[in-house]
Point group: C2
Chain length 679, copies 2
């Protein structure tokens, strides 16, 4: 199987007319006598109709155990046709697609306050205007994405929109931003979720990293099982979270009304920095992480019931209302209660404790928070592999991301995300506030490029909604760009520089991946043969051009070697046995055995005074090629196959090394003849 | 190449008569027409005489870089004939072979005192009688090994002597003891050497582990360069150490003579344990680690100049005198100076500081100590791979330990030792006193079994030296056994239990390795064919029995696939192309391309609804075999070969997975046809 497996999946066109023509041209040069179809088929020694295939059952014990483990982890395989019928009702879509956005209420306000408090508790009041600004931003960006939903009913991820309207490079930049953002979503959500747990159960404080990595592991396994189970089970936590935060805000407001909405003075904290513009902007940038996830619905329009775009829009409206209400409400009541961010307990936990006391309702708020954050991380596990899939379709990512697992999930992308997020999470010891500075850059880069792309989209498309679209998306683009600039500048030294480095790296890698695929595809594409077919190197598309020599490296005249020799001889082509000997004495011994056997084949003995075996063999093959260019050498290697893995250490032959060394030789085919040792 | 490569090296006999007879029998059944020698040789399309081989030059950039790196690390390759001329003069042999034994003066006395001081400084005087006892032991064991040298001039390692005289199991037990001992020698010597450095440069105190691992790395690289440079450079440190300790003892004795040999009272240390029998025995066992290395000379008799055994004996005599003098002298002057072991500075360093002050002479003592300990560790790097080589010759260890590197060093054994010693060293944070309890068990087990083996040796050999030999070796055996018992019991809970567990584990592994090799060898040994040759499965030692079908899995009709198809067709055997398709639509597209090409070969399309490719292919092959047992299936796989390693990620085909799955199928040969992508 060549690397292009997967490239011929249903989404890609079959061979084009030029390719078919080239195939026809190549086929015309095949010898009719030898390769003629009817004759060939008649000589098959066995009926080739496909036998009724049972499930794949590996032959080794380890292999069978691995299969059972895989079935337990990922469930029974799903047919490709099962991919339909994954449409979501609005009541399901809302919680599933907005868990990412809504859950950021759990860390956004806290991230903002954690910066403000550096200027002392007196400046915490600045949170109210900042939150107002962020709410305006949410509205502007949200309205922008309403436009995208209408314009891209097939799903308008930032990568698609930016590529379509702005070109390859902006598209890849948006994709790179989104990819880092997905990784950070998982890391931040899990960190914040663990913080919610630790707030309720302080004893778990030094288990942050293991708990978080365990959660990432659960998401990994769950997603490899596939998207099927996603809908139902994942809707609950979001509603529970909306209910928890909503009722908490309402109760706190009612309590505040009791004393005339007078804010409690916050616990005194000494300032360590002045309340300069930079600090305020940094607080704003930190709070803006609450905007992550707004774009999710516009990516997933095709997953809605008909009429898709209308349902998606209505869901987005609801999400925006809920997001702004919960975010602004939380900041407001945190201010009224005079809560100060501190280590060991989240702001939300403090709020819940003051509002509900420490009892059952408090526990409910914490559990709902932790769960919705887990769902938000899970949303990234849907988005990240899908984005890689789109990129791979364009040749911008390795084609392994095109491959669907047997549960219709993109396993490779899921594994990459889990590993990357796990590494980031562990590197920062799972501290939310250390992760926040890395978060927003990727998001706002993608927002900006996507909205700018929409502006170009409207520009090119005359019509009654043109000016309206340009106005809304233009506003979104400009505001996103401003936040992107603020975020990058104010958080650069806190960690944003990592993302600023990573994003161009991803873009460059994508471009190089594409270049390599284009080069490979053009090298592999069938080309018409030159009118007078000449036998050049590596041009054996015609069997009659091939001159054979079969070389069998023989170490010992044991049954494995004899089997390989017999196989080679049975192919009815010239055979040469090759023996590498450390010294003349050993060579003489080998000759004796060879003569006893009957000297049935040509034999060459090479003496290798440095005891190397692979080197002399490769040199020999090389020399044969120099002597006779175009000769097709088939190297037949006897290979011992063992039943238990640890026996492989004992019978470690030179086969793998030889195969690696020979694969770079032109016109060299390596054949492995297995000899099965009894288990 | 099968796994037996190496098993036919100069030390092992060629095929025996029964094997030659079997080969003759097998050869007789080869078809004379097809495989007849003169005819076959005439048809070779190229002259097979071995071309003058230049040095191996890999084809890839990575490969060339690796070769250059290897040459820098390990030097130019050496011919096998260079292995002669490694004989050592006594003046060189003494320091090289006794660095292990003599260097133990650096930690033996300290280990003993470190236990005694637990009973308070008042009990440190017990060191004198204990040291006397150990000196007697040294003499007894040393004399024992004089006997071994005479009886085993070919080199009488404990493994050889115990195997020869006591049988397989005791031999393996001795070998296991020695293997653990070599690992511990490296760990303890390096730990002790680093302690000598840290005593002189306290600032290096928290770099113990990095310095030690660095030293092990240096030894690893040095030994991979080969034994050539060993002699000269390695003689210096031992003489320097003898001079350093010797002169220090003499100076200290002269100083002590000045005040009538009155011992200075040691600094007061409070007792934490009573001075019971157990403690005293534990101190004795710890001090007995100074005996490690006594056996080295008897292993290396063939390395001496002629007459080997006589020169070896004389060297051993000298070593014994030096060892006993330095050991007893050190304990004596430590007692006279009233030195108490303490953390952060070794006893030897304290002694040197008191004797010479802190100046240049002090520095010289510390440097010589550190160097000789490095040499001692180096000695283990000679012994460990050589022991594994002997074990591998008997089939008791993986045959990869038979293979010599191109510098005549046993690289595999060297690497295993470096890794094991590095792990042990790092696990115990390089603390000598934590390592000591694991040390002596293996040594004294080997001593005991080796001396007991010598008793049996004399017993079986009537002659005038018989009673003399039995008496000396008997004494050595009994004393070693007593120390072994004392060591095991008193240090069991301090860490000796690890060794007590490891040794039987090594023995059992060795036995299982041997069993597997015997089974494999008997499965591979040529057997006479049954009189009427029947075509059963996996019995194709005769080419005319082979019925072929060549299967070519084709994913895409690109040039790589066309090349594989042409190769398959050119072998003039029936060919069947196989295409696995995810759905009917894709299958139709493939058929269109196939027809355009001309439908030259039989084609089967298998639809795989679960998108798996490897599974259906393996099932298909399996079904063909069930339908037609004995059919030889050759699976021809097109494979893309790339120039840069990172391109491999992009073109990751199914070849490796398919090869792994097919290797367990009987009568299945896997052939890889490379298609080289432009770099």
């Amino acid at each position: 199987m060549t690397a292009r497996r997967g490239s011929r999946s249903a989404e890609l066109p079959g061979p084009d007319r030029r390719e078919l023509e080239a195939l026809r041209e190549i086929g015309r040069h095949w010898p009719s006598a030898n390769g003629g179809r009817p004759r060939q088929r008649a000589t098959l020694p066995v009926d080739p109709t496909p036998p009724g295939g049972a499930a794949e059952t590996p032959d080794t014990r380890l292999g069978r155990a691995a299969l059972v483990a895989r079935r337990i982890v990922s469930g029974a395989p799903l047919k490709s046709t099962a991919i339909a019928g994954e449409r979501m009702r609005k009541l399901i879509a809302l919680p599933v697609l907005s868990s990412d956005a809504l859950s950021s209420v759990a860390y956004g306000p806290e991230a903002m306050l954690a910066v403000l408090v550096l200027a002392g508790s007196a400046e915490l009041g600045l949170a109210l205007p900042l939150a107002g600004g962020i709410a305006v931003l949410m509205l502007a960006v949200g309205l922008s994405y309403r436009q995208t939903i209408r314009a891209y009913p097939q799903g308008g991820g930032s990568y698609v929109v930016a590529s379509d309207n702005l070109g390859r490079l902006p598209g890849l930049a948006a994709a790179a931003g989104l990819l880092t953002d997905y990784v950070m979503t998982v890391a931040v959500s899990i960190a914040s979720g663990v913080a919610a747990i630790v707030s309720a159960v302080p004893a778990a404080g030094n288990l942050t990293v293991p708990i978080g990595l365990g959660a990432i592991g659960v998401l990994l396994l769950g997603n490899i099982r596939g998207v099927r189970e996603a809908g139902m089970a994942f809707a609950g936590p979001t509603y529970a979270f909306i209910l928890a935060i909503g009722s908490m805000v309402v109760v706190a407001l009612v309590q505040a009304a009791g004393h005339g909405f007078a804010a409690s003075p916050p616990e005194h904290v000494v300032a360590v920095e002045g309340a300069g513009t930079l600090l305020v902007l940094r607080a704003f940038a930190s709070g803006a992480t609450a905007m992550t996830g707004i774009e999710t619905i516009s990516n997933a329009v095709p997953a809605f019931e008909r009429v898709e775009w209308r349902n998606a829009r209505r869901t987005l409206d609801w999400m925006l209302v809920l997001l702004i209400a919960l975010f602004a409400g939380t900041v407001l009541v945190v201010h009224l209660e005079g809560i100060v961010p501190r280590a060991g307990e989240t702001v939300l936990s403090q709020l819940a404790r003051r509002t509900f006391g420490g009892g059952l309702l408090y526990g409910y708020v914490q559990a709902a928070t932790a769960l919705v954050l887990l769902m938000a991380a899970n949303a990234a596990f849907n988005g990240f592999p899908r984005l890689l899939y789109f990129m791979a379709q364009d040749g911008h990512a390795p084609r392994m991301f095109l491959r669907m697992g047997d549960r219709l999930a993109f396993n490779n992308g899921i594994v990459v995300l889990a590993v990357a997020a796990g590494l980031v999470f562990a590197t920062f010891d799972g501290r939310t506030n250390a992760l926040i500075p890395l978060y927003a850059v990727g998001v706002f880069l993608a927002f900006t490029l996507s909205q700018a792309g929409m502006v170009v989209h409207w520009w090119r498309r005359p019509g009654h909604r043109r000016r309206h679209g340009i106005a809304i998306n233009g506003t979104g683009a400009v505001l996103s760009a401003v936040v992107l600039a603020i975020t990058t500048v104010t958080k650069f030294s806190q960690g944003a520089w990592v993302v600023v480095l990573v994003i161009p790296l991803v873009v460059v890698t994508s471009l190089r991946v594409r270049r390599e695929y284009r080069r490979a595809d053009s090298a592999l594409a069938p080309r018409p043969v030159q009118p007078p077919p000449v036998a050049t190197r590596e041009r054996e598309e015609c069997p009659e051009d091939v001159r054979h020599l079969i070389v069998v490296p023989v170490d010992d005249l044991d049954l494995a070697a004899l089997r390989a020799l017999a196989y080679a001889a049975s192919l009815c082509q010239p055979v040469l046995a090759l023996h590498v000997s450390p010294d003349d004495e050993e060579a003489a011994r080998f000759h004796r055995a060879w003569e006893a056997w009957g000297d049935h084949l040509a034999l060459e003995v090479v003496v290798s005074p440095y005891r190397a075996v692979v080197g002399p063999l490769v040199q020999y093959v090389d020399a044969l090629h120099r002597e006779s260019p175009g000769l097709m050498l088939t190297v037949v290697l006897p290979e011992l196959v063992v039943r238990h893995w640890w026996h492989r250490i004992l019978h470690h032959g030179l086969g793998p090394r030889l195969r690696r060394s020979l694969r770079h030789q032109p016109d060299t085919v390596v054949t492995t003849v297995a000899f099965h040792l009894p288990g």
